[in-house]
Subunit: 546 residues, 2 copies
């Protein structure tokens, strides 16, 4: 019997790198050789991670990957947090890739659904971000990773700056398992402002033809916040933030939470809550937080990623944000999700559909969107052992061995912007499961994890319900004139209100006629710039002035 | 109104660093100045992280910290994964520290209990590792971190080698929030073998008087594995690993799981399971895995930390372990716990007590031990969305919106080594809660997360039970002659067996008389060395030969 080799991965990597040696200058390869590089460094069937979070995309490398010869490279197993760009799916049509494991597919969700139905793509599974990163170390260890950096020095040290995002957790999985780390650089420089990832971990650097794609996904123009959203925000502040004494929080993307952020310095101040609630945040640097920061509400913010236009403001607020010695922010999506799961009192999100039981999903007919970080942050980590007042306030009274629970809040208007009811008997996701042949219904947040639902009608305190029937009744009570809501009746509502399971605005001393836009600390993008002392620099598409 | 400062942390850090500038040579300070250094860099009331995982301890810095003048430094809020060394508690007696947040306190658990009772120490809370790291970014952001590295170069770049452990996640939390990063180095060198943490992130390096403390905590001598443990291992392999088609796994520390590791190449092989189960592991490099690795059972291992004596073996097995270009392993406790939570089919642990409901704890009277990683890995991550055959095999039949569940297995003999029953009506932890004034009972793994219990009597498939009464009956059925077990009766047992809720050895075709030590692939430390081709080098205390 011949002895087996224990270095097959290393040997394969070395053979690949030897092949490209003629086109390399140290770790560097010319932009125009990128296609040939990938054709030599990637083998058919390889597991390939292509970086793309919410905001930041390795857009040069994804374009190059889409241009390789499918005779040479085919049937790749792609692992991608975010399926965002057309070429992310083109590679499945040309046969370069055949299998996909992913987390989020916002802009491409319709096309993904179609490609699964057509059999063009084989979906491994949908993941929450942290779960996908976890598998990079266990059963989805990559052969090649394609990532993006702002600046790279001649030793291959990477500076990712404010948009560190998922780069470190991806690179580490390959660098220490004989995978190949390929980096696209916006700029190659003599000295990086700081080292975010050591050059030791990097195999190949290529200067990109243009800077990586970066989207200001977390910017919400206050002008588009409605009075209904303001009403919901007031209810949430009184009926949840104040009631439960919430200290640590994540806000999802959306106008509902933007309204809350802009109500803290006004309505929150009136209620005397300043210094009492939400000092510590795990959230992207959303511009609508600027007034709350400037007026002393927010003490610290750790972020998953950056936000276009906030760079200079952040650099001037190092007491609040995570900023390096070089003066720019460091983000970290893996650690941010870890914090979002285990260190927070509360997650506040939104969704497209909620079923009569309280399960919610953004997967609707024809759109396999994935869920990003929501399932992770919107779940109750049963491994948590530390107690805070908010968490402990959800402890069941009747169980001596009981413990607290994370507040998981869904904020929705009863009808969506498409005029369709948000509250439904059955999620579209049930149908999508069948079409896409998924193992389970793609639910974003399960009923059992959902502790509160806020609508324009009121708040349902689901954690207080004792049975599924009571939970359904609580949901019906705040579901307005949707088919689900129409099942509620006055007697049931009165009973739920009396027992504190449902609160209407009047129960919270919230007055509908006070829910005016004038209550927002900032009503326009210009107001945000003023609050920031001119340090916030909104992206062009959010500027109405010149 | 004067403008507020947004750089108070940075200013405080700079002032501290200025004070020590006279004793600094670049980032370096002489060993004999370490005490003065800490007295200048730490302020009363500071939040201080002192590194110490399971195995690796920043032992030089902890000794120096215990020697500072309590008039100068007092009332520190210590954040420590592991309370392992006497001086970790001495600092509370001298008043240098007053508050503690921690995860694990194995060797010091009795003394901690006493100090809490005496009021010498104020315990913030007990955490699982990942939860404690999460808070470093949200509500326990440190002012100073004290960590350990193997080698440091003149730019302050750190090489942590196989024992990377928790160093990166600790350092990042301070380096990017104007905290101070102080490193003890085993060795200062011209060039580190690789960069594990960039020098940019490091403020001060001090050469330690001796290498950091490192314990071979995961080494189990096969000689001490009993035939009862072999029987339990055979049952587990048939009744859990094979039955559920488990692919990805973590084994806790202990002889029970060591037995399983040594049965795979023998009993597992007989059953024809090779290539069918457990290729991918998240586990420390335990020597008892060597035969399973050598005989081709194990494909990949990612590790939280290193293990003394395994260095050379690992270096020669890069296909299996996470190894850097320099040829040595990289571990990572934060990513390991992330993987342990989200990427695994199964966690197999052990405990000191299990109550009649199935809650388990290692906290017993007079011992506040903490739980390390068990609550994290031994919990069902409700944010998980990907499906595997093992996970899906626990999906409830009667719920169209249901999903799978992580297998969380407790393996215990019905009586502990102290002759006390493991199965009890009430956990000692209930009493400890009162004594230590904890918010909740310090339960390690809750009943609701526990899917299987294995004893020498049989296996209880708790996930199949429909009610708490049935769950209790299943536990009684395998609890032997403990007071809990004596409540079981033959009729109940027959019914549970018929319904597949309990399996006895004969139900699994496991024969007690085959459970012999000769069935172990290695029966001594020497056998493990032979299996490793001489590459494994056991620590002195495990060597019976010269």
């Amino acid at each position: 019997m011949t002895k087996r080799s224990w270095t097959t991965h290393r040997d394969a990597k070395n053979a690949k790198l030897e092949k490209v040696a003629p086109m390399m200058d140290g770790k560097f390869v010319e932009t125009e050789n990128a296609k040939e590089l990938l054709e030599d460094l990637i083998a058919p069937g390889d597991k390939v991670v292509l970086e793309g979070d919410n905001q930041k995309q390795a857009s040069f490398l994804s374009k190059v990957l889409a241009s390789v010869n499918p005779q040479k490279i085919h049937d790749l197993h792609m692992i991608m947090s975010s399926v965002s760009r057309p070429e992310h799916l083109d590679i499945f049509e040309t046969g370069i890739a055949s299998k996909l494991d992913f987390s989020f597919a916002g802009p491409q969700s319709t096309r993904i659904s179609q490609m699964i139905a057509d059999g063009t793509m084989n979906v491994g599974d949908i993941h929450t971000y942290l779960e996908l990163y976890a598998r990079l170390y266990v059963d989805l260890i990559p052969n090649v990773v394609l990532v993006a950096a702002d600046k790279v020095d001649h030793d291959g040290n990477l500076y990712t700056g404010a948009n560190t995002e998922e780069t470190p957790v991806i690179v580490e999985s390959a660098a220490f398992k004989d995978g190949i780390v390929i980096v696209q650089a916006n700029q190659i420089v003599d000295k990086v402002p700081r080292v975010d990832i050591p050059g030791d971990w990097v195999d190949v650097v290529v200067q990109a033809d243009q800077p990586y794609q970066l989207e200001p996904l977390f910017t919400r123009d206050p002008q588009n916040i409605t009075e209904l959203q303001i009403l919901m925000g007031m209810m949430a502040i009184r009926g949840i933030y104040e009631k439960h004494n919430v200290q640590t929080v994540n806000h999802g993307v959306g106008f509902n939470t933007a309204a809350i952020e802009l109500l803290l310095p006004t309505y929150g101040e009136q209620l005397g809550l300043k210094g009492k609630i939400v000092p510590n945040w795990e959230v992207n640097p959303t511009p609508t937080l600027i007034p709350a920061i400037e007026s002393g509400w927010v003490k610290t913010i750790h972020s998953f990623g950056g936000e276009v236009g906030m760079e200079n403001y952040i650099a001037h607020r190092p007491d609040i944000f995570f900023v390096g010695k070089d003066g720019t922010m460091r983000s970290n999506r893996a650690f941010g999700q870890m914090a979002g799961q285990y260190a927070l009192d509360m997650f506040v999100g939104s969704t497209l559909q909620i079923d009569k039981y309280g399960n919610s999903s953004t997967v609707t007919n024809g759109r396999l969107s994935g869920f990003g970080g929501a399932p992770n942050m919107g779940s109750n980590p049963t491994g948590r052992r530390h107690s805070t007042p908010a968490w402990q306030s959800l402890r069941p009274d009747n169980d001596p061995l009981g413990k607290g629970q994370k507040l998981v809040v869904q904020m929705v208007e009863t009808f969506g912007s498409n005029k369709k009811p948000v509250f439904v008997d059955h999620l579209d996701a049930e149908e999508v499961r069948k079409e896409a042949k998924l193992a389970n219904v793609p639910i974003m947040i399960y009923s059992e994890d959902t502790t509160h639902i806020v609508t324009e009608e009121g708040i349902a305190y689901l954690y207080k319900t004792d049975s599924m029937a009571e939970r359904q009744a609580a949901i019906e009570a705040i579901a307005g004139v949707t088919p689900v809501g129409l099942r509620s009746n006055p007697k049931q509502l009165a009973d739920l209100r009396a027992r504190g399971i449902v609160a209407l605005p009047e129960d919270l001393d919230v007055h509908r006629n006070e829910a005016k836009r004038s209550l927002l600390a900032a009503q326009t993008m210009d107001d945000l710039v003023s609050w920031s002392d001119g340090l916030y620099n909104p992206p062009a598409k959010f500027r109405s002035w010149s």
